[in-house]
């Protein structure tokens, strides 16, 4: 584990092409997003289909903080932390009424929330409206620039996965799992379901908020259609479910493998064809491995051992 981590940290030092650094940056981004989604969607079973809203809010909060206070790019990167807090805060406000809904209703309302936040940003002039916002960019060579963002995203991703691991082992995580199994029974066993759900929702909005901020600095230009892209919400859900949403490993495996598959497919075949194969993959996974690929393979191994 430690060796793998050191290897990842040192990866840019071996001087790989910029393409690879950017690609691994994307992998980290998705691992971070689907792992934080998993806190509410996987552990508590509340499928938020609008989680990209928090990513977008983080991106815009960072950009606005940087703009209002006229911060340099390094300071703007630090502003991602208050941006994460802002998106957590918004998650608490939104989550309070929304988390009373269950199943598909929760999925629909969160999806709507992401559209509402996208359209609001698009219609507000002081947030750049439909023109988007520019951020300051770093005056360093491309490779150094990409390496800095690579390391930042790596750090955030490790932090997210670690928190997800800790939550999974804690009483908090056990409470969330009880809610997933049966919310009424959980409440009769003195689990304060509304509070746990709000906490999980806020926590799962915090990391995407920071990731959104880092992404905004990475692109140095943000647009509502990019940072509130609904496909991103759906992808993080699918990645977590693909890997297996009941543990911290699932989203990591799901995000890494799906990003690799997507990249591999779109390199070798036509984009539309690649997407068709991608769609087939979802069908295959849900029909044959409803609990994710991890459980599918571990069960198979158990069968062989027997």
């Amino acid at each position: 584990m430690a060796i793998a981590l050191i290897g990842l940290v040192a990866f840019p030092l071996f001087g790989p092409p910029v393409y690879f650094i950017s690609f691994v940056f994307w992998v980290f981004l998705y691992v971070c997003l689907s792992s934080s989604w998993n806190l509410i969607g996987g552990y508590a079973g509340y499928l938020s289909f609008g989680h990209v809203a928090f990513f977008g809010i983080g991106a815009y909060a960072t950009a606005m903080i940087g703009k209002i206070f006229g911060l340099s790019i390094t300071m703007t990167l630090l502003a991602t932390i208050p941006a994460g807090v802002i998106s957590s805060f918004i998650a608490i406000i939104v989550g309070y009424p929304c988390l009373r809904l269950r199943g598909p209703y929760f999925a629909v309302i969160t999806l709507c929330f992401s559209f509402v936040s996208q359209l609001t940003v698009k219609n507000l002039e002081f947030l750049g409206g439909a023109d988007g916002l520019w951020l300051k960019s770093m005056d360093v060579p491309v490779l150094v620039n990409r390496t800095i963002f690579y390391e930042l995203m790596l750090f955030l991703t490790v932090l997210t996965v670690w928190v997800s691991y800790l939550v999974g082992r804690s009483r908090f995580g056990a409470g969330l799992r009880a809610i997933k199994e049966d919310e009424e029974v959980a409440q009769t066993m003195a689990i304060n379901a509304p509070r746990l759900k709000i906490m999980a929702f806020a926590l799962s909005a915090f990391f995407p908020g920071i990731a959104g901020g880092i992404y905004a600095c990475y692109l140095s230009y943000i647009h509502p259609d990019v940072v509130f892209d609904v496909n991103m919400s759906i992808l993080q859900v699918l990645m977590a479910l693909f890997g297996g949403a009941s543990s911290w490993v699932g989203p990591v495996v799901g995000a890494v493998s799906l990003t690799l598959v997507n990249e591999g497919l779109s390199t070798f075949v036509k984009a539309e064809l690649a997407r068709i194969i991608y769609g087939l993959l979802f069908i295959i996974v849900i029909v044959f491995m409803p609990n994710g690929i991890l459980e599918f393979f571990s069960r198979k191994r158990r069968k062989i051992e027997r």
Binding site: C98, Y105, I109, C112, I283
Partner: protein
Amino acid sequence: MNSTLIFQSLISGVMMGSVYALLGVGFSLTWGVMKVINVAHAAFGLLAAFFAYTVFHRYGIDPVVSLVLSVPFLFFLGCALYRFLLIRITSARAVIVSSMILTFGVAIILENLALLLWGADPRLFTTSYTSKVIIVGPFYFQYPPVIGFVMSVVGISSIYLFLKRTYVGKAVRAAWQQPEASQLCGINLGRISAITFGLAVASAGAGGVGMGLLYSFEPHSHNLWLIYLFLVVIVGGVGNVLGTAMAGLIIGVITGLSMAFLPYQWVNLLTFGLLMVILVVKPQGLFQSEV
């Protein structure tokens, strides 16, 4: 703002809303009866619209007439989809969620098939009657929305009558109310479900052509249509056919009026905001379920 204009936008809102309802009724049925949320519902509608577009531009056959071919085709496609894929997940604990993911995969496939076959350009039916209007007193009615409205009335009432009057329709309702008990009464649940699903997908085809008469469409359009589907179905109450029709009219009126008073970019925001408020306040829908 004079009263003629308000009335005019009210009427066109009703006509738009009726098409949303036609698109939504099958969606509501599968969700209510089979606990399957078919995210690909609007994509099936889009497929029918594209088919109608091709038939119209190549052979000059009217889009509405093309439904004679596409509706039976979609019916069998829907039946097949149920028999070969959906039936495998109906035993899962979280059917609704699994079905959303499965049909999301179907939606991706359909969307990209449409991209491959028809390209990404927005399409519009430009029939001989597209720009014609009927003038009644001070009001102008465009032909396409009127045709959409008629299609919707015919489509929804035939689904309603099918459910209320025919044997198979009664079996569908029985299967919804008491899945186990209906099986004891000799209802083949698997076949009933396949028929329901096929019917729902077929009605999506009619709705898709209706939407194509009103708006331009491209392979990604089904995402926006899907939001309207959720809106109509949740407001009307899941599984409630007449409720869906009523909800379509209400939402049509609201969009029609807000288009008259608000700048265009705020209309969608209002729609989504409305759906959020309704979900929080009254998630079971505005109408009593009566099936």
